[in-house]
């Protein structure tokens, strides 16, 4: 099964259980590099799809939490190469598909061909690249798509209707619906009704599952959004739990994690 199909399937499986897929996000190697493999395992157990953030010096789509976690991870020595090595070691045991969330430059610098090959080995299923709009994505797609890796497209509340359709059609795995115009972590009070209407609009044109992200922090949000999206992405809130040495598993379960029969 291609990475893209695995992702879509994992989301479908969750939906079949009558709940939105849970896609937890962590910054790789944060709060400490030693815990990374274990954190990935916990996330793969509690979540349907796992999103691993590749730290970058200039995370310009991220809020303070992910900025801080990225900075600390980089300082500790986290690199894309190390992330792929670590993921590769546990690839066989992992059932949930893994997505890399990375700004473009680390990917570009590794070289797309090398990147794609190593991702396949590491069991990575696809990418989310917040500073790569569809128009600039051809070279990356040319390297990853033949290997079945997904490039998840993002859409935002200010994406026009026409463009949204194009992006949904171009996406792979799922469509990432950014719920707020803003950076990760949320903060600004968003109009709930407007968000739900927006998600409905995305779903209407999307052939793929639609997952909502940015600013989702608690069970109430998951429940509300869950009926209008196929999955939810939880990033900053989880990063904060880890930062405070909290129990990631319990936190994810409180959000309605994967049911283990």
């Amino acid at each position: 099964m291609s990475g893209a199909t695995r992702i879509t399937a994992a989301i479908a499986a969750a939906n079949k259980q009558g709940r939105p897929a849970l896609i937890p996000f962590i910054t790789a190697g944060h709060p400490d590099m030693n815990g990374f493999a274990e954190h990935v395992a916990i996330l793969a157990e509690a979540g349907d799809v796992v999103e691993i953030g590749v730290p970058f010096t200039d995370p310009l789509a991220d809020g303070v939490t992910i900025q801080r976690s990225s900075e600390r991870a980089l300082k500790a020595g986290v690199s894309l190469s190390w992330i792929l090595d670590t993921l590769e070691q546990s690839a066989a045991q992992r059932t949930a598909p893994v997505l890399l969330m990375s700004y473009l430059n680390p990917l570009l610098t590794m070289g797309y061909e090398t990147l794609a090959g190593r991702c396949v080995d590491a069991g990575v299923a696809g990418f989310i690249v917040p500073d790569l709009p569809f128009e600039e994505s051809a070279p990356l797609r040319a390297a990853i798509e033949p290997r079945g890796l997904a490039l998840v497209q993002l859409v935002s509340p200010v994406t026009s209707g026409e463009r949204m359709k194009k992006l949904c059609e171009a996406s792979a795995g799922f469509v990432y619906a950014v719920t707020v115009t803003g950076v990760t972590g949320g903060g600004g009070k968003a109009d709930q009704a407007a968000i739900l209407a927006y998600l409905d609009r995305v779903r209407e044109v999307s052939p793929l599952p639609v997952c909502a992200g940015f600013g989702i922090r608690e069970a109430a949000q998951v429940n509300a959004i869950g009926t209008h999206a196929d999955g939810v992405i939880v990033g900053s809130a989880l990063v904060e739990v880890l930062e405070q040495d909290g129990d990631a598993r319990a936190f994810l379960q409180s959000l309605g994690g994967k049911l283990h029969e």
């Binding site: 200039d58 789509a61 809020g63 680390p106 994406t159 463009r163 950014v178």
Partner: protein, 408 residues
């Protein structure tokens, strides 16, 4: 002709023919638009605004009137006889330091502020390094009647304190940036975040020839007035073209403004001076074109100072305005084709050049600009008897604190 040289020549011909940026915002392999989806609409609107207004007769008239009557254009071209005598050269200075607010930045700021007003936005955000772009933006926004918010790295706020005061006086809100490297790079990061949060009612007034398309184009078009004037003036005053045109390169806006109108004049060497800082090691300089490799930052694919993992390097320069790990994509192309040459001069050479210009021409230039003087001097020493055109990008009043620290 080898294949490579032929390719370069084709790129230069395309440059001269005005083929860049192409419809993708590319300058040969460089440029483009790497921005979050949330900003795609804003960039599209900006691009449409640029093509709607930039060559519009009424907009041009409005802009030209502001440039002439408020900014003080044309800025003069000063002969520098005493420096010339010392250097064994004929030296000419294009005086952007005399433009309103004291640097070339205002050419771009007033142009974009007028554009922002046409686009009907509610507010303007801008980043600043040396503070010159922040001051220019604050002034331009006051002039056109738009609220302005300026993001500035904490470190830069200290080393360019007078400019912080000036921005506030001019009614701008100055937001200290405490994340990242706390200099220009982090200020751009933060401005982008702010824009991502308000993509529809906010205009991002970017201060250099960097960023996603159409910024490098827009900024070059607005700054080319420098080179257009200088081209005419040096023919009128010196009787011919210069042998070399020298400018300092941070993001590259004053340099592209000076160079662009000379690109077709193949006899004119174009010399961009980058900040050599205090060494060529990682984090010791900000000489992007000299030491960098291609990469993507702040929306554009260009030369970049980054490590093997694609992480952006810390940079160093005594001049806040050059302290940036990226550079405009058109410079990357000029460097790749050999049409322009880029060299680095270190902090000390810049300081010496600044002092020399003070003492011999009665002109206190910005620390950024001093890099161009150091480069011009070096060139003159190796090539006696040349006609040298130096882009004086700004005045040095803002640098007095830094100079004081370095004078013992």
């Amino acid at each position: 002709m080898s294949k490579q040289i032929e390719q370069k020549e084709q790129l230069i011909q395309a440059l001269i023919a005005g083929d860049y940026p192409d419809s993708q915002g590319r300058y040969g392999p460089f440029g483009g638009r790497y921005v979050p989806e949330t900003l795609v609409g804003a960039f599209t609107r900006l691009e449409q605004g640029v093509s709607r207004w930039l060559d519009d007769t009424k907009f041009r008239a409005e802009l030209n009137a502001e440039l002439r009557h408020w900014v003080g254009r044309p800025t003069p071209l000063s002969p520098a006889p005493r420096l010339g005598e010392r250097w064994g050269a004929e030296v000419w200075l294009k005086r952007e330091d005399l433009a309103h607010t004291g640097a070339h930045k205002i050419n771009n700021a007033i142009g974009q502020a007028l554009l922002a007003r046409r686009l009907g936005v509610q507010r303007v955000v801008a980043e600043t390094g040396a503070g010159q772009h922040g001051v220019a933006s604050a002034a331009a926004c006051a002039r056109v009647g738009l609220p302005c918010e300026v993001y500035m790295g904490e470190i830069d706020m200290t080393r360019q304190a007078p400019n912080v005061d000036r921005m506030k006086r001019l009614g701008a809100r100055v937001v200290p940036v405490t994340s990242g490297d706390r200099t220009l790079r982090a200020a751009i990061d933060e401005s982008m975040r702010e824009w991502v949060s308000n993509p529809t009612d906010t205009y991002y007034l970017l201060g250099s020839a960097v960023g996603g398309h159409p910024y490098p184009y827009l900024v070059r078009e607005l700054q080319s007035v420098i080179g257009r004037e200088a081209h005419q003036q040096i023919i009128d005053q010196a009787g011919g073209l210069p042998d070399v045109a020298v400018a300092c390169v941070g993001g590259g806006s004053n340099a592209i403004g000076l160079f662009h109108p000379f690109i077709a004049d193949r006899s004119v060497k174009l010399l961009g001076m980058e900040a050599g800082g205090h060494g060529s090691g990682l984090g010791e300089h900000s000489a992007t074109l000299v030491h960098g490799r291609p990469g993507v930052l702040h929306g554009t694919y260009s030369m970049l100072l980054h490590d093997d993992d694609g992480q952006i390097q810390e940079t160093h320069s005594i001049s806040a305005g050059l302290d940036y790990p990226g550079v405009g994509p058109e410079h990357a192309l000029l460097a790749a084709t050999g049409r322009a040459t880029y060299l680095a001069v270190d902090d000390n050479a810049a300081l010496d050049a600044l002092n020399e210009c003070c003492e011999y021409e009665g002109l206190l230039v910005a620390l950024e600009t001093a890099h161009a003087f150091a480069g011009a001097r070096e060139y003159a020493m190796k090539n006696p008897g040349k006609r040298i055109l130096i882009g004086v990008s700004g005045r040095g009043d803002k640098d007095l604190n830094t100079l004081l620290e370095h004078s013992s």
